[in-house]
Symmetry: C2
Subunit: 556 residues, 2 copies
């Protein structure tokens, strides 16, 4: 079904699939499930095509059909780069036939009707099995998480504390409601354990005993099935063992979906956006690589995420058979969502729930404001990129061209003018043309890196409203159960159980908040320093070019 929308910003189409939209222009949107951050629709001129979802405000809410069918995603699912089913309008033929390849948005091309394997590219050769990846777990969207919640809730034995009616809230969806209400039975075989300790600024994740980093390098175009299928492979080298594995975007995406399912209450960094067109263009490959590196840095720096078994599998497994085994194991992991809450070791320290609530509220205000400012800086920096490539370049090139023309005029009267002056003016013209190119090139050194980091933070910040709701929901349950206990409707022990489990939620959230603060201090300092350094180098280079040019006028 189509709906209406309004363009928030002006967008200039750059490919034939895209259409231009003007700020405030009324749009028809054919389906508001964005595909890789793009929507399909029609502008007021009647042109049909793609435009960025983030540039558009949908003015009619999505239909219920979409809500139940596709839009349910685990906590922390991204606003853009979502892995939900794409709208049929953009779905390639073989996907419309009911076949869903979880990497298809990364590497389908129009001629491709060949199914993809789900093996890693960590081995040298490519496995040529035509196994459909129709494991239902891969379709994390097609099997909405809520089903599991329902099965849990149907098995419970009768707590009187009310259940949240809105089963689409993150509190319910994530399993935290079930956990707080004590519906999640202690599992005997909890192999994992994540410890929260008290640090100078409150609860924090205990550092990983085996910290490491991981490089992502050398994106290389690969083909298989005699060139019918093409994809990009990245060399991923963890510092553990310095043994490289080769991974495609689809492997990252698989890992990312595992993380989303498992890690309730943790802000999982979003993967770089998918893109329907131009995926093999150099700029896009370069940008995706830079953003995967940032994503990886955040993964390895996170004390909980970095220790995830599935992540280790992703980083280490170079064997085809082992890959599939590990993949299935990760997909069958039971310690996810509600169960994941059972893996926390929390300090004994008393924390007043009211204090925690206030801290969370102030964090909420902070993230809202930070999200706004990150969004604003993103827009300003994007616009500045456009100016560098367009206006700035053009102005300086026009100036250079005008100087060249003066020099050419001076050439027309050879006996009178000094050749040195003509040459110097012509050289000045070339210098300004070159400065125009330097302006156009400069975003490669500064603004793009800033935008990469801002994009990562947009993703991290977008996760927090849902995560904060977990604590809100838990806190409400504490109050409700205490009231019911006071009224004698439930036993104090049951109310105490809710309170105790709510403490776990509170400690975990504070640890995550602390981790976020710590990282953003490091990241923004680094971002600002890197930007300033490149800017200084830029203005110095321009100055030096001009100085060399000025010397051309010496001794004329």
């Amino acid at each position: 079904m189509s709906m209406k929308g309004k363009a928030l910003f002006t967008f200039q189409s750059e490919n034939k699939e895209e259409i231009s939209i003007q700020e405030n222009e009324e749009l028809v949107i054919f389906d508001n499930n964005s595909v890789d951050g793009w929507l399909q629709g029609e502008n007021s001129k009647g042109q049909k095509g793609l435009f960025p979802a983030s540039y558009v405000e949908v003015t009619r809410p999505r239909s219920n059909f979409n809500m139940t069918d596709c839009s349910i995603s685990p906590v922390g699912s991204p606003g853009n780069g979502s892995s939900c089913f794409p709208s049929t309008a953009n779905t390639p033929f073989h996907m419309q036939q009911g076949y869903y390849d979880d990497d298809d948005w990364d590497d389908w091309d129009d001629s491709s009707t060949v199914v993809d394997d789900d093996g890693p590219s960590g081995t040298n050769g490519h496995s040529h099995q035509s196994l459909h990846s129709n494991n239902p777990n891969v379709h994390y969207c097609a099997k909405p998480y809520i089903e599991r919640q329902d099965s849990i809730s149907s098995s419970r034995k009768g707590s009187m504390v009310g259940r949240n009616l809105n089963r689409f809230s993150s509190f319910v969806r994530s399993g935290v409601e079930a956990f707080v209400l004590g519906d999640v039975p202690m599992n005997a075989k909890i192999a994992e354990s994540y410890t929260i300790v008290m640090g100078p600024k409150g609860p924090q994740w205990k550092e990983s005993p085996t910290p490491f980093s991981c490089s992502i390098e050398d994106p290389t175009k690969q083909t298989k099935f005699k060139g019918i299928k093409t994809y990009i492979s990245y060399r991923v080298t963890p510092s553990h063992n310095a043994r490289p594995v080769y991974r495609r975007y689809k492997h990252f995406d698989w890992l990312y979906n595992r993380l989303l399912h498992k890690f309730t209450i943790i802000s999982v960094p979003h993967l770089p956006e998918k893109q329907a067109t131009g995926r093999f263009e150099e700029d896009f490959i370069e940008k995706r690589k830079r953003r995967l590196i940032l994503w990886m840095d955040h993964m390895t720096s996170h004390p909980v995420l970095s220790q995830y078994e599935g992540f280790e599998h992703f980083l280490m497994c170079a064997d085809d058979k082992q890959w599939k085994l590990g993949k299935r194991r990760a997909e069958k992991d039971e310690m996810m969502g509600a169960n994941f809450m059972l893996t926390f070791q929390i300090p004994n320290e008393h924390q007043d729930l009211q204090d925690v609530e206030e801290r969370v509220d102030s964090f909420k205000t902070f993230t809202k404001k930070m999200d706004d400012s990150v969004m604003q800086l993103t827009h300003v920096a994007s616009e500045l990129v456009r100016k560098h490539l367009g206006g700035f370049r053009k102005e300086f090139q026009r100036l250079g061209n005008a100087f060249q023309n003066v020099s050419q005029a001076f050439m027309l009267d050879p006996p009178h003018g000094s050749d040195a002056l003509k040459t110097a003016i012509s050289h000045t013209g070339r210098t300004y043309e070159n400065i125009g190119e330097m302006f156009a090139d400069q975003p490669n050194y500064d603004l793009f890196h800033m935008l990469d980091k801002l994009s990562l933070y947009q993703g991290l910040l977008a996760n927090f409203p849902d995560i904060i709701n977990l604590q809100k929901g838990a806190f409400a349950k504490v109050k409700e159960s205490q009231r019911m206990s006071d009224e004698g409707k439930i036993g104090q022990d049951e109310a105490d159980g809710v309170r105790k489990r709510c403490r776990t939620v509170g400690f975990a959230l504070q640890a995550e908040m602390n981790h976020f603060h710590q990282r953003r201090e490091v990241d923004f300092k680094e971002m600002m320093q890197a930007y300033l350094k490149q800017q200084i180098a830029f203005y110095q280079r321009v100055g030096q070019q001009l100085e060399r040019t000025l010397h051309r006028y010496d001794n004329l």
Copy 2:
């Protein structure tokens, strides 16, 4: 009568008297006599007002009425800044009444109905006589020069060589036709003499035996008639005697008009444009001062113009009575136009007229191309000024503002973030806001100076087509008289006389060409060097600001 026009460039109105016009927009022009470079008309939206004459192409030629009534001006009369009668649409009341004050465009204001004196402001007090400056010589436009030509021609005794039928061509208008045909009687009392010598690059003006320079400083707002009349007075100090005189724009304008009348075949630098509104705004006063200084430099550097008696009077006279006497004397000067041609002492050296013709043709091609390139550079530089004040400033200020907002977001969570980082980011924001201001301010240091010089050259170059036509006309007369002599219609002595006088025109023009080349080499070198120096300083300042800002992140 109104006529049609088309906008060559887009112009954005900045005052309420002005209207915006779009490139290619059809316009109605009420009167195509531009006033101070402005035309009055109506755009396609029906808005009426002023727009720059140079932005518009008039698509219907001016009426004959205008041609005979006002448009006749001596050689070298400017395209803009013309002193012809303004169109009545813009003419203040007291001028429409038939009274013409030659300074009114400089200092009328709406409340002013008081007539102006024509005394100098070289004395401290202001003379309060209400003498109308209705000396007919002041109205150089109202008494067209052609009348004198006619009286000369009616007195001649019967040369058979044909007269140019187009009496509006510069050849006729300047009196050079009359001179070449021998119609100008040798005047016994020729006190002036300008010598042309052979230099390394051909004929050149002999340097003035008493070279000097002259400063223009300290534009000061003056009032008289108890504040009813307001004007700007400049301190003008020639290096001769270092004794300052005080001059108003109207005095410059008087001098300029004398120069136009007298100096046939010399490219008299145009005065800075007049302006109907905002004459007392600081930017305008500053700009006019800069351009008067350039104008003065060209006057003092010209071997012929710098020796003109009227100029000396302008520079030296500080006495009210003497001023008037000298003014009248200059206005009665008989050695102008055709007679001025009699003042040249030329070398005996033989010059082939054909060679001279070729040199002039190549100069014509050169000036055309230089005029185009100066025009282009002017447009580019003007647009760059607009970008500095608008786009560049805005972009950097938006970036600064976005950084500030990030810093403000970070302030919202005091226990977590480092104060030093917040302060550093905020400081970075202020730095970029400041860089925006630096961009906006920069044209004051570089582009405005470039535009000043380009404007001077636009004026000088605009004079040349008419000047070149003088030589063309003279050369045609030589050929015609030789043919008639060959056919026995006139005597060889008469044909030789025409050829001899044509030599004088050729020598004078070559000397002027040479002078122009010499000056433009000096001027353009200086212009480019000054621009580059200021640009280097600018980029260095920006770099230094950013470096200081970067240090704020040290030891965080």
